[in-house]
């Protein structure tokens, strides 16, 4: 029976079929659905699924299960591997017991990230095997095999996915689910070098074991069915690819009708590269094109092998990111491969007649206005940044906001009134702010503000706040508490009373934590603009140390807000000043809630009842009180 499954669903299914017992992760696009799927299946499958506080914790939680003989899975996006990397290195050194797999889902082109990171290098760095599924069936099958491989070599295995694998769907044949209980026990009383019963510790002396394990994996890779070849025995061009790029390459060769010239070597085992397999294929041609997302990881590794084998296989012409046939920046697609092949094989290709392309291009340019990202209608962040922006303008000392990762990252742009002035990684807003605020002795008088979400607070802002309180750094941390990890799909976090599996759990109180640290803490509802702004203006003047302003209002997409509209909104046409002096279209031009529409003909604003969710905030910004608010 074939099902239509998303890549992430296939990963989850593969893990279940392998008998995974513990799965942990932190929400991050495009990885989140793997843990979500597993948490939905948790009760029935009798497994433990956790949204950990951050990715380092997720890896540690999964590792513990593995040490106790259970099969475990850790899931994160590419940046999550950065967060987990210190433990990852030590875990690879100590080795694992129950099969353990780390799935890293990357975001080429940074469609939902603030960077284009490639996690594959970590596999090479910490010296563990790396696998990349090339389609949805493989996403499932490879995951199952990855657990077996991990147990064979007694070390964790990393699997790499990309957006077009994780968030794409295809037909997948499911396998049977295992039955049987599992007993967790951590054996530690054996000798230091006993991999089955000794203590599981890192140690410099263990490095040689790591390399031996890798060698074992390579031997298995030489015979792996996940490395496939299609095309002539002696192709004019050998195309080496992995992951979703396999699907692009296959289709490109077909469209250009060069399947008789191009041989496609799809690698599923991409670190270490199996040298014998590579030798066989590298020897078959002089021209090699490597197609992969983000970094030239495979490209460089293949070139190293080719150099080592040069005496046997000869000198090769390499095409790829270095030769600029494949872009180094941005996400790939079939047209990238089409254009590379057309160039290398000197074949003409035009996707549509030039005249047609010109007409449709001109039409789109004039008749399809761009859609900028914006906060949802009723988003508390819009109200929060309204107050933060205005408080800083009124304070008039050139204060600024260090931003962080979440929906509120968009406050760099007009949707958040361009309030945020720096963005890096999770928790780094507060970290930078802690640093900026210690520059007073060098003449910096600017007030320093950082924003972070409630989930980000637990993830990594806490140590930054500790740092600031202890070092008396006078910055204001604004925690935008919207009761969930919103940007990635509204997952729970330690501030809530429910966990990944919908069990009731104790919630941690952000305000109490900050007070316990010794920060000066205020809590406000961001929908109350005046109170929020006054609180912030006062906090901005407090110079003795770190301050926290918690702005608490649930996300517009949260179950409690979606349950019902609080207010019914309407614009009184007679009172609306529109473009004239006294208003200048404040609500549609500056506030920019999608629920407000500018009626060009009448010269007034009006509410779009399909989009407005009735939060009522716009009524408080209208200088004429022309926007009316009625309890729904």
């Amino acid at each position: 029976m074939e099902y239509m499954a998303m890549g992430n669903e296939a990963f989850a299914r593969g893990a279940l079929e392998a008998g995974v017992k513990v799965a942990a992760g932190y929400p991050g696009t495009p990885s989140s659905e793997i843990i979500e799927q597993l948490s939905r299946a948790a009760k029935q499958a009798g497994i433990y699924v956790e949204w950990s506080v951050n990715e380092k914790l997720a890896l540690e939680v999964a590792a513990a299960a593995s040490f106790a003989e259970l099969r475990s899975l850790a899931v994160m996006k590419q940046n999550g591997v950065n967060v987990a990397s210190d433990f990852l290195l030590h875990l690879a050194t100590s080795g694992t017991r129950g099969g353990m797999v780390l799935i890293a889902c990357e975001d080429p082109g940074a469609l939902s990230s603030v960077n284009e990171g490639d996690a594959r290098t970590f596999a090479k760095l910490v010296e563990i095997p790396l696998l990349e599924p090339g389609d949805f069936q493989e996403a499932k099958d490879m995951t199952k095999w990855a657990f077996e491989l991990s147990e064979k070599i007694r070390n964790l295995v990393m699997m790499r996915s990309v957006t077009r694998m994780s968030h794409a769907s295809g037909n997948v044949r499911f396998g049977p689910l295992p039955s049987g209980e599992a007993k967790a026990e951590y054996k530690y009383s054996g000798g230091l070098l006993d991999p089955n019963t000794g203590p599981v510790t890192a140690g410099g002396y263990r490095h040689r074991f790591v390399l031996e394990k890798l060698k074992k994996a390579v031997a298995l890779f030489e015979e792996s069915p996940f490395n496939t070849y299609q095309g002539p025995e002696k192709p004019a061009l050998l195309l080496i690819t992995s992951s979703a790029c396999y699907l692009y390459s296959r289709e490109a060769a077909r469209i250009l009708d060069v399947e008789d010239k191009v041989g496609i070597l799809k690698l599923g085992t991409t670190w270490p590269l199996p040298p014998n397999l590579l030798k066989k294929h590298l020897a078959s041609t002089d021209n090699i094109l490597i197609v992969e997302e983000v970094m030239p990881f495979m490209e460089e590794n293949v070139k190293v092998l080719a150099a080592e084998m040069a005496a046997e296989i000869g000198i090769k012409n390499f095409y790829g990111k270095k030769s600029e046939h494949i872009p180094s920046v941005g996400e790939l697609n079939p047209d990238v491969v089409l254009s590379a092949l057309a160039d290398i094989l000197d074949v003409g290709y035009e996707s549509v007649p030039a005249e047609y392309a010109k007409k449709t291009g001109a039409l789109a340019y004039t008749k399809a206005p761009a859609r900028a990202l914006t906060f949802c209608p009723g988003c508390p962040h819009r109200a929060s940044f309204w107050s933060i922006h205005n408080a800083l303008e009124l304070d008039a000392r050139k204060g600024f906001v260090c931003g962080d990762i979440g929906c509120y990252t968009m406050a760099i742009g007009p949707t958040g009134f361009n309030t945020v002035k720096s963005v890096h990684s999770m928790g780094s807003g507060a970290g930078l702010a802690s640093g900026f605020a210690k520059l007073r002795q060098f003449g910096m008088e600017q007030p320093v503000v950082a924003v972070c979400g409630d989930s980000t607070f637990f993830h990594s802002a806490i140590p930054a706040l500790v740092n600031a309180v202890h070092h008396k750094a006078d910055f204001t941390l604004i925690v935008l508490d919207n009761s969930g990890t919103a940007m990635t799909g509204f997952q729970p976090h330690p501030g809530l009373t429910v966990n990944a599996m919908n069990d009731e759990v104790p919630a941690l109180d952000i305000a109490e934590i900050c007070r316990a640290m010794g920060a000066k803490v205020e809590v406000r509802d961001p929908f109350n603009l005046e109170e929020t702004q006054n609180a912030l203006n006062q906090l901005l003047e407090y110079k003795e140390g770190a301050k926290v302003l918690i702005l608490r209002q649930p996300c517009a997409l949260s179950p409690q807000r979606k349950a019902g509209q609080k207010f019914k909104m309407q614009v009184d046409e007679a009172l609306c000043l529109g473009e004239t002096c006294g208003c200048g279209r404040l609500c549609t031009r500056i506030f920019r809630c999608p629920g407000l529409v500018w009626d060009q003909e009448k010269g007034i604003s009006r509410i779009d009842e399909v989009i407005c969710v009735g939060c009522g905030v716009c009524a408080d910004i209208c200088p004429q009180q022309a926007i009316k608010r009625e309890v729904a």
């Binding site: 009124l394 304070d395 008039a396 002096c581 006294g582 200048g584 200088p623």
Partner: protein, 371 residues
């Protein structure tokens, strides 16, 4: 009169540090706001000609045109401006007892005007701890609670704008010279609004030589007293050369020359010591702590002063010649210093291609001022 929009206002006034924080641009729209004595523009506005620019006393003020419109005569640069009479004045018996500044003339005038329905409400400046705040007074008690000088600029006209927006039609205003100038511009309907009626029925100006930057002053005071306990600030007449700060716990004095370093830079570009575009102007009378100098300028001012005297609210006497000459001399000096600075900055009668002027006046007036 050349009128532009908020972007030009920001460029010419705010960005150049010339804003005095009079409040004329505040409460007209959501973009200009005041906080602790500083005016900020929250967002850019796209309106090309706005009231904010038209009312601002620090940019494109055509003194010639304003003088013609207000008094029916040219701006001639004379030190005390246009006036019908100058007298000494003090509050009469009809005014209740209160903490007046000097002769209590301003309070007396406003109490009188309220009692007669000449004004329905008075736009005044009160105080919250150290910070002067705009107030709208409707009773004599409320008026008296706003008595006593404030030495830092306040956005008083923001309360005027708010009152006008709420439909106020007979408003009294007590204003410093910069605020008076803005109010006078407003009264002349520079935007040519239809069905416009002057909402100010009595504009009382105050004498002023300089004002302090509030935030700098607050930092200075905060180092010396608990600013949350400040009740009053006063500069006693010469030769004291001090500034007194009264708190719940008593009084401290600080040297006036230290305080002068906290003056707003923009005051150095101000030509007007006696609020020349008011109906009536009130200030100190040299050497007296119990009387004021009263300059009667317009017909309205004359009527009100006269009626107030008859009703026992004001006691008017002859102005001593020497005091008048000293006043004229001091006002003339301020005008000369300021005009020289404006001219040096290229902001006097600036040519259209070169930008926007601070003030415009005819050649005779310039000659008269610079001597």
């Amino acid at each position: 009169m050349r009128i532009f929009g908020s972007n030009e206002l920001k460029e010419d006034v705010l960005a150049k540090g010339l804003c005095i924080g009079c409040g004329a641009c505040i409460n007209l729209c959501p973009y200009f706001r005041s906080y602790k004595g500083k005016t900020a523009s929250l967002f850019p506005c796209t309106v090309e000609k706005g009231r904010c620019f038209a009312y601002c006393p620090k940019v494109e003020v055509d003194l010639e045109a304003l003088s013609e419109q207000t008094f029916g005569r040219p701006y001639d640069g004379n030190p005390l401006g246009t006036y019908r009479a100058i007298k000494t004045a003090r509050a009469g018996k009809a005014v209740g007892a209160g903490q007046f500044q000097a002769g209590g003339t301003v309070s007396a005038l406003m109490c009188f005007a309220l009692s007669q329905g000449i004004v329905d409400a008075a736009v005044l400046t009160g105080r919250e701890e150290l910070l002067p705040v705009p107030r709208l007074a409707r009773t004599a008690e409320e008026v008296l609670s706003c008595a006593a000088s404030k030495y830092t600029a306040a956005p008083t006209l923001s309360a005027l704008n708010e009152a006008i927006k709420a439909g106020g039609e007979r408003l009294g205003v007590v204003a410093t010279p910069c605020q008076t100038l803005a109010a006078a511009l407003l009264r002349q309907n520079p935007m040519n609004e239809e069905n416009f009626r002057d909402p100010i029925s009595l504009l009382v100006g105050l004498f002023c030589t300089w004002s302090l930057d509030y935030r700098a002053f607050e930092a200075y005071v905060a180092g010396r007293v608990d600013i949350h306990k400040v009740r009053k600030v006063d500069i006693p007449p010469p030769p004291a050369e001090v500034l007194e700060i009264y708190t719940d716990n008593g009084r401290i004095t600080v040297p006036l020359d230290e305080v002068r370093t906290l003056t707003n830079d923009t005051c150095g570009y101000c030509l007007d010591m006696t609020a020349e575009f008011s109906d009536l102007s009130v200030g100190v009378l040299e050497g007296r702590t119990d009387k004021n100098t009263l300059i009667i300028r317009s017909k309205r001012g004359e009527e009100v002063a006269s009626a107030a005297e008859k009703a026992g609210y004001l006691v008017l006497e002859e102005m001593p010649t020497e005091s008048l000459e000293h006043l004229r001399w001091a006002a003339g000096n301020k005008k000369k210093r300021a005009l020289a600075r404006i001219q040096e900055a290229g902001r006097l009668n600036t040519a259209e291609e070169a930008g926007r002027a601070m003030v415009r006046m005819n050649a005779d007036a310039i000659a008269a001022i610079l001597g």
